[in-house]
Symmetry: C2
Subunit: 338 residues, 2 copies
């Protein structure tokens, strides 16, 4: 509650001197500086970031804008792990972090620019937004530097961080092909996600490379949801019993798919090999444990923050970064013997 004025009064100096003393300027006598410092401590004084930001026109604050911060997110932990990465990087570099969460309802009440202007964030990291989201256009038009997570759009002030989705998917599907599977289906996420399109492309590339014809009936939309994936998998496997392998665009959907297969009386992985995408915690604990493509969500957040802060500090910088994925072999995939 003590202000700089209180410190100045008690120290018998001017407000200016207190400010300069505390901020390490050289034009203040070491003796007075020490005196001011101890008095500041006595009074439990700490400068108001509000007032400072106002006059300096700098907040040293970045916003993590997440669309759809919901408890369901705890199943894949995407948001949480990105948040950890952002938080750690921001902390290291001395930036404050404000969490801004929106949904379609809120987006109509307040524009992206309003949100950012009000809180005077210097830059933004955007997570969870869909390609058809109204905010996305605004972001591109806005002056405020922004890093998108998993949406590869770039402009003067906008960059992105993503993983090698196509490559990851390709590895996954080639793994299945190498195990002798010929009828490999795919449970994809919704098409408003960039990653869905990329992973589909990877799936197709792998098939082509392995000389397996692409059949669009083998690709269904699981909407990134466990339940939808379960439902779609049941339909798929009923209609096309020749399918022996499944590539799922997310581990969560793989969980749903495996449950569907089990309910149909299939023994996993004997009757059906499944590979997922994400490497969420669950995938190591399920039965069978899930072979998957690992992507480093923490690093996604960390790198996004690194790029953003460099942008903010006016440095020349590559405005995008594509992280590598890693294939993790577990129990859910095995040789085809049909």
């Amino acid at each position: 509650m003590a202000t700089i004025r209180d410190v100045a009064k008690k120290a018998g100096v001017s407000v200016t001197t207190v400010s300069r003393a505390l901020n390490g300027y050289s034009d203040v006598n070491e003796k007075t500086r020490e005196k001011i410092k101890t008095i500041a401590q006595e009074l439990n004084y700490s400068p108001s970031l509000l007032a400072r930001s106002l006059v300096m026109k700098k907040t040293k604050t970045i916003g993590l804008l997440v669309s759809g911060l919901r408890i369901e997110g705890s199943k894949d932990n995407f948001t949480f792990e990105v948040l950890c990465g952002v938080n750690d990087c921001a902390g290291e570099l001395g930036y404050e972090l404000v969490l801004i969460s929106t949904d379609s309802k809120k987006q109509q009440e307040k524009t992206y620019n309003q949100l950012c202007n009000e809180r005077k964030v210097e830059g933004v990291i955007l997570q969870g937004i869909k390609t058809d989201d109204p905010y996305l256009d605004e972001v591109l038009k806005s002056e405020i530097p922004c890093i998108l997570i998993d949406i590869p759009i770039e402009s003067e002030s906008v960059g992105y961080v993503t993983t090698d989705n196509k490559g990851g998917a390709q590895t996954a599907v080639e793994h299945l092909a190498d195990l002798g599977h010929k009828n490999i289906a795919m449970i994809n996420g919704h098409s408003q996600a960039f990653v869905s399109r990329e992973r589909l492309a990877g799936y197709q590339d792998a098939l082509q490379k392995k000389g397996i014809p692409f059949d669009e009936d083998y690709v269904v939309n699981g909407a990134f949801l466990e339940e939808t994936a379960e439902l779609e998998t049941t339909k798929l496997l009923t209609k096309y019993p020749e399918i022996t392998a499944l590539f799922c665009a997310s581990d969560l959907m793989a969980m749903g798919a495996m449950r569907a297969a089990k309910k149909m009386g299939k023994i996993l992985p004997r009757d059906l090999s499944v590979v997922g995408y994400d490497n969420i915690i669950l995938s190591a604990y399920s039965t069978p444990s899930l072979s998957t493509i690992a992507q480093d969500r923490y690093k996604l957040g960390f790198e996004a923050t690194t790029i953003l802060t460099q942008l903010l500090e006016g440095r020349e910088v590559e405005k995008n970064k594509v992280l590598q994925t890693a294939f993790i072999k577990r129990e859910s995939t095995m040789k085809n013997h049909k």
Copy 2:
């Protein structure tokens, strides 16, 4: 970037009028109000919360201070789900949320009061802090209203939200006793956590109620960590092979315990019944799936925020809340047949 001054100039009125028009005061002509509103929109104006907060001496901001925001947290999702609850409640009530994360290192650099003063948070929700944490004393001495999660301390400005840990533990252990188990051990968390002490008390109460003598050698410290729990369980079961049931103070430790038992060649739940605490996502997916005590972490955060905001608005309010837990029966527990 447009300021209130820009709007005033363009509208040909004073700054005062713009402020009052936009804030819905009645002493401004509806026509001018409309004019100002459209001009504000044209200029993409939104008031700076910085400036507003400075003059109003109110920030409408609460801080979620979490100690140890680490990626390991994604295994139990405690922090994330509390965060979701806090975020939703704060959002509904028009409060901004800043995320403040500390660790023991940071706590030495900056005091709790400095942290709060700098950012001018009106109130704080504290999560993940230990009972021997230096911040805890500060919180009690501080003027700033604060709600503790899972630490039952109350004062003029401090309240808390927790779950019925003793009751939950008791239910869990009684469940095991009712299944005919006589030798029930406990894997507890570290003793700096209040919940550990409560859950231990519940364990003891249940034993007493069921006429089973308490043996302190049956209680080991798993430090809330999966690996430690695994290690301790191995030691425990080797030394006391008569044990047929385990109550674990967290699901994560139960995972470790189950793995230990499996590695020793035990078949679960036939040779060992296990009940956990928390109802984390994993517990539904493990094999066997885990019987557990469910606690609503989202609600923990939501209620904490409710109480905090009421405190901030000067309302008379019960400064603590104890949420009920629920027992969830799954596959990891069965009748004792030894």
